[in-house]
């Protein structure tokens, strides 16, 4: 496989594995672990395979055009720096998987754990491999999301939920800042491609947007890497299962921020702004983290604060801006990942085997688990920077850089002292970790009796500690080439001189190391009494809780202010909301006139007014006004009046050259009226007046207000309509359709050709809406409970039934049947007539007014007429309509017509037409759009009939329900 494809495979594997693990059964812990481990090892193998290419020359790249018009491509890019990180992510990931297999308990849904872990791994790989800044931010956000899921894995525990939410809020907010920062960088450079960005240092640094972009990007990096003052989320993330902590806080998550700083280091570092933003943040984090770590009583808490401190150290190194400091930063990132992962795993073993992580309870474990204790001691010594271990060498480099001169400022000059102090702190907390847990008197009251863990659970630690020793003793042979490759990747080929030796002679950094170590021991002895008192947290500082401030801010923002806003601005009453919406509509419609000056009516010559048209609209206006007046108490009258208004609309369409609209409007008018009539059956009469005498003043005022709103919107609409009708419409696309309807669409009815051909996709969406509305109506009516007042048979039916029951030779329902005798006969005979009419409307649709919509509604009217003539019961016994099948067939036909054009290599819904010579009939147009229209037709029939039948069927249901109720009494 070519290298670039391998890169894609390395990125895709974890995500595919995550998906697969998610589908494993809950108890399949071994299968999930093997899958996850396999993915991590395969990823590592690919990464190792690619080393030769990366070490040799140019980075490996994978390129896929994504949104070229926006300058966005999907690119993967593996240079030395990314290689080192990818190696850490896969390598430590594999070890964490092995460890987690033994750590996670049988009761946990382990496949889900591995699924999240793999997805997280993939997201991290995405960050380091991204060759495009936007793409990197995308994966950055993914890591926030998946770390949320991982930290909150034990979601039944409140602290896990809180910790997860806090991590997500802090890192997610940082991610948003980063996105804006990256967009600014993209604006400065003119590209989001990392290669181009890395070549544009002068452009970026000299830009006015440099400082805002820098601040935003740093916010992203600092929140992710838990730099002061955003460090508080990290200790709370310790509520996660320990394998997660070991992974997130050593090689991944928090290192994403570091990676970002490194990635942009060549183009953004080295300025005063960078120095004064990054160095203080790193320094404060370094000291504060180390200081607080000393006073932790929770084992993982101690490691968490020590992580914060080490991240501060790396940030500080990057902030210095010198190439050598950057080398030290990379080296320390690697070292920290190795020893911190092993320490977290050791802490997890202690927790797992003893049942507690509390330093006050733990003591003297050496005698129970000597091997684990020895391993943890070596790792902790590496953390403290003891010679012969990897931590020592990178710490020496740090001290050397602290001594070196960078900006000559007071901050820069004081760095050696701070560095030594931080070194002493790290010695103190490492001592505390070792002495507190493994030495001292035997523990009392432990939840479990401690013993050595399963060997394979300890294996990852053994391996990592071995690496610590190898790097510490023979750095040049082991880590030298890899580090050199990474440095080349970071510094674009120019590598400064550095020496990876253990012994550099008696130098100032060595002296600082010795002072730090001695100072650390002294400090530990001095603090012993305080630490043994069992108080959690350092003196004074423990009263400042980042978490409390965070929660306060969160509660204020998301709860108190939101509630105040809702109480002050919101209402649950529909009428008040409608008033606001409509008033806004009036304002929005008038605003352009107010802003651009009053635009009067146009000067197009009007169409002469036939008196009949004026009369027609007088009727229409009266109908509308009367409907508005009557709708409250006289619903039937209102329905008739609205029908009148609809007819006026319909005639207007005929008059003004819109035959298609007129046909459709008329047919829809019929079904709507039937529908509302069916609905009226279930709407109990309103008899009593809410206000028997005169309504109170408040209500009257409200009505006048509504009247004013209604009149003003009516006025605005009339005015706008008049203005529009009296001025020419420029820039219309109508010409396109008119000219091509026949030559390209094969039909003379332009409206129909637009619907089924040019804008077929819109029509497709529309029939889907109709389909959904029909199904929703159907679903709502399945569990429909009518108003109790309307369950009895209607008054008229009761009177008729009483009459029938009183007469000896009649049975109930006879009177209605008698009344309907002749209409019923006519309506039965009309069925084929209407059906033929529907077919006719459909067939001529492409050339003359008609089409699928009109035909569909016509056919559904044919069905509905049968219901009206013979009653629901009779029709359901004699006619099976199956509207759901009509709808399904219709939708499938339309889709298939659309998809069919793919077959011939055209885009979706491209239509084709030709004239076909049929015997007897002659030349007929045969467009594929006709097939599409057939689908529309079937769907419209199905949906309309479904809605009407579902409602009509209610009378049978409730009759049965009423009978059952009576029978039960």
């Amino acid at each position: 496989m070519p290298n670039d494809t391998l890169l894609l495979v390395a990125l895709a594997l974890p995500f595919l594995g995550s998906l697969a693990a998610g589908f494993l059964p809950t108890h399949a812990r071994n299968a999930a672990a093997v899958l996850a481990g396999g993915v991590a090892v395969a990823g590592m193998a690919i990464t190792v395979w690619l080393y030769a290419t990366v070490a040799d020359d140019a980075p490996v790249q994978f390129w896929l055009s994504w949104l070229p018009m926006l300058g966005l491509d999907f690119t993967l890019r593996l240079d030395g720096l990314a290689w080192l990180f990818a190696m850490m992510i896969f390598g430590i990931g594999a070890l964490v998987v092995l460890y987690a297999r033994y750590y996670m308990s049988r009761e946990d849904p382990v496949p889900r754990f591995f699924s999240f872990l793999l997805a997280f791994m993939g997201s991290m790989i995405g960050i380091v491999l991204s060759g495009n800044l936007i793409q990197m931010v995308f994966f950055w956000e993914l890591t926030s999301l998946f770390s949320f899921l991982l930290i909150g894995y034990w979601h039944h525990s409140a602290s896990a939920r809180d910790g997860a939410r806090m991590a997500l809020t802090v890192t997610g907010t940082g991610g948003l800042c980063l996105l804006v920062g990256v967009l600014l960088v993209g604006r400065i450079v003119g590209s989001y491609d990392i290669d181009q960005v890395l070549e544009s240092r002068d452009l970026i640094v000299q830009s006015d947007l440099y400082v805002p972009a820098l601040v935003l990007i740093l916010l992203g990096a600092f929140t992710k890497s838990a730099q002061f003052p955003f460090h508080f989320w990290l200790p709370h993330a310790m509520a996660a299962p320990t394998p997660v902590s070991a992974y997130l806080h050593s090689a991944t998550m928090v290192k994403a921020g570091i990676f970002l700083l490194m990635r942009l280091w060549p183009v953004m570092a080295g300025t005063d702004a960078w120095f004064y933003l990054v160095v203080p943040a790193g320094l404060v984090t370094l000291l504060l983290g180390a200081f607080i770590a000393i006073f932790q009583q929770d084992l993982k808490g101690l490691l968490a604060y020590s992580t914060i401190s080490h991240l501060g150290l790396i940030t500080l190194l990057l902030g210095l801006g010198s190439p050598l400091a950057a080398v030290a930063a990379i080296f320390h990132t690697l070292n920290h990942a190795i020893f911190k992962a092993s320490l977290f795993m050791a802490a997890g073993i202690i927790d797992h085997e003893t049942g507690t992580r509390d330093l006050r309870k733990l003591s003297g474990l050496y005698r129970y688990m000597p091997i684990t204790a020895t391993l943890a001691m070596v790792a902790a010594a590496a953390m403290a920077g003891v010679p012969l271990l990897n931590g020592f060498i990178s710490k020496e480099m740090f001290f050397a850089e602290a001594v070196a001169d960078h900006t000559g400022s007071l901050l820069d000059d004081s760095l050696p002292y701070w560095a030594t102090l931080a070194g002493a702190f790290s010695v103190t907390y490492s001592l505390r970790f070792i002495l507190g847990v493994f030495f001292g008197p035997p523990p009392v009251d432990l939840p479990h009796r401690p013993h050595e863990p399963a060997h394979w659970m300890r294996f990852p630690i053994e391996l990592l500690v071995l690496i610590c020793l190898l790097i510490g003793i023979v750095p040049g042979l082991t880590v030298g080439p890899v580090l050199a490759t990474a440095v080349k990747g970071l510094l674009d080929g120019t590598v400064p001189y550095y020496s990876l030796a253990l012994w550099h002679g008696f130098t100032l950094p060595l002296l600082m190391s010795l002072i730090a170590m001695a100072g650390g021991v002294v400090l530990y002895l001095a603090l012993r009494r305080y630490l043994e008192s069992g108080i959690e947290g350092p003196p004074i500082l423990r009263d400042f809780k980042g978490q409390r401030i965070f929660e306060k801010v969160l509660a204020t923002l998301s709860w108190q202010w939101a509630r105040a806003a809702e109480a002050g601005l919101g209402t649950r009453r529909l009428q008040a909301q409608m008033r606001i919406v409509i008033t806004l509509a009036v304002v929005a419609a008038l605003a352009p006139f107010l802003v651009n000056g009053a635009v009067g009516t146009g000067d197009l010559p009007g169409t002469p007014l036939p008196p009949a048209f004026a009369l027609l609209w007088m009727v229409g206006g009266v109908c509308a006004l009367a409907a508005a007046y009557q709708a409250k108490y006289h619903r039937f009258a209102a329905l008739v009046l609205v029908g009148g208004a609809g007819l006026v609309t319909c005639i207007t369409f005929v008059w003004l050259s819109a035959p298609d609209l007129a046909v459709t409007q008329l047919l829809v008018e019929i079904v709507t009226t039937v529908l509302l009539l069916l609905g009226l059956r279930w709407l109990p009469k309103r008899i009593e007046d809410v206000y028997p005498s005169r309504p109170p003043l408040k209500v009257l005022l409200r009505r006048y207000l509504d009247l004013a709103i209604a009149c003003s919107l009516g006025g605005v609409m009339a005015f706008l309509a008049y203005c529009l009708m009296t001025r020419p419409l420029t820039g219309s696309v109508s010409r396109f359709f008119v000219e091509r309807a026949y030559t390209e669409g094969g039909g003379t009815n332009i409206v129909n050709v637009i619907l089924v051909d040019f804008r077929g996709f819109d029509t497709m969406g529309e029939i889907v809406v109709l389909c959904l509305a029909g199904l929703t109506v159907f679903a709502l009516l399945r569990r429909f409970r009518p108003a109790p007042e309307s369950i009895r048979a209607p008054e008229q039916q009761r009177i008729q039934n009483e009459f029938d029951e009183a007469a000896p030779d009649r049975s109930p329902g006879d009177t209605a049947a008698d009344y309907m005798l002749i209409p019923r006969l006519i309506m039965h005979w009309l069925f084929p007539v209407i059906a033929v009419m529907a077919v006719y409307l459909f067939m001529r649709g492409h050339d003359l007014p008609g089409g699928g919509f009109a035909a569909g509604i016509t056919l559904s009217i044919a069905f509905v007429v049968q219901y009206m003539a013979s009653g629901t019961r009779w029709v359901e016994d004699h006619l099976r309509v199956l509207p759901l099948r009509w709808m399904g067939v219709g939708l499938l036909t339309s889709c298939a017509t659309g998809v069919g054009s793919w077959w011939f290599g055209y885009p979706f819904l491209t239509s084709h037409f030709q004239y076909v010579e049929l015997p007897l009939i002659g030349k007929v147009p045969a467009a594929s759009a006709l097939l599409f229209d057939l689908g529309v037709f079937a769907l419209v029939v199905g949906a309309t009939v479904l809605i009407l039948i579902a409602l009509a069927h209610q009378s049978l249901r409730s009759a049965r329900a009423a009978q059952a109720a009576e029978g039960g009494e």
């Binding site: 050259s657 609905g679 009815n749 619907l755 529309e766 509305a773």
Partner: protein, 116 residues
């Protein structure tokens, strides 16, 4: 003709708006019907070339159409869609209205009678 149609649209709108501001669900459904007539006519009236009598957008067989000779087909295509969708929405709203009446025991739009 234009002025009559404009006033008609205005009256339909005003009646509809008045109704959708009322508290009873049936009033709202009638109001929505009236508003949809008004809006459909409004869109229809936006046709380029103004109102046309006796000029339906139907071509003589076999030829390129002349946009100046016939009514603008685009607003018509838009309104045709709107009519059908309007029907679907009326049906949906009607069923919701009926279900709400059965469930809440009132036909007030808020699902409960206002406090008096």
């Amino acid at each position: 003709m234009e002025i009559v149609l404009a006033i008609g649209i205005g009256i339909f709108t005003a009646s509809g708006v008045w109704l959708i501001l009322r508290p009873r669900t049936y009033q709202v459904i009638i109001g929505l019907s009236l508003i949809s007539y008004a809006v459909n006519l409004f869109i229809f009236a936006m046709a380029g070339g103004g109102l046309r009598v006796d000029a339906p957008p139907i071509l003589a067989a076999g030829g390129v159409g002349n946009p100046a000779a016939i009514a603008d087909p685009i607003p018509q295509a838009l309104v045709l869609t709107a009519i059908v969708i309007g029907f679907a929405m009326t049906a949906l709203f009607l069923v919701v209205l009926l279900a709400a009446r059965g469930r809440t025991g009132t036909d007030h739009v808020d699902g409960r009678e206002p406090e008096r």
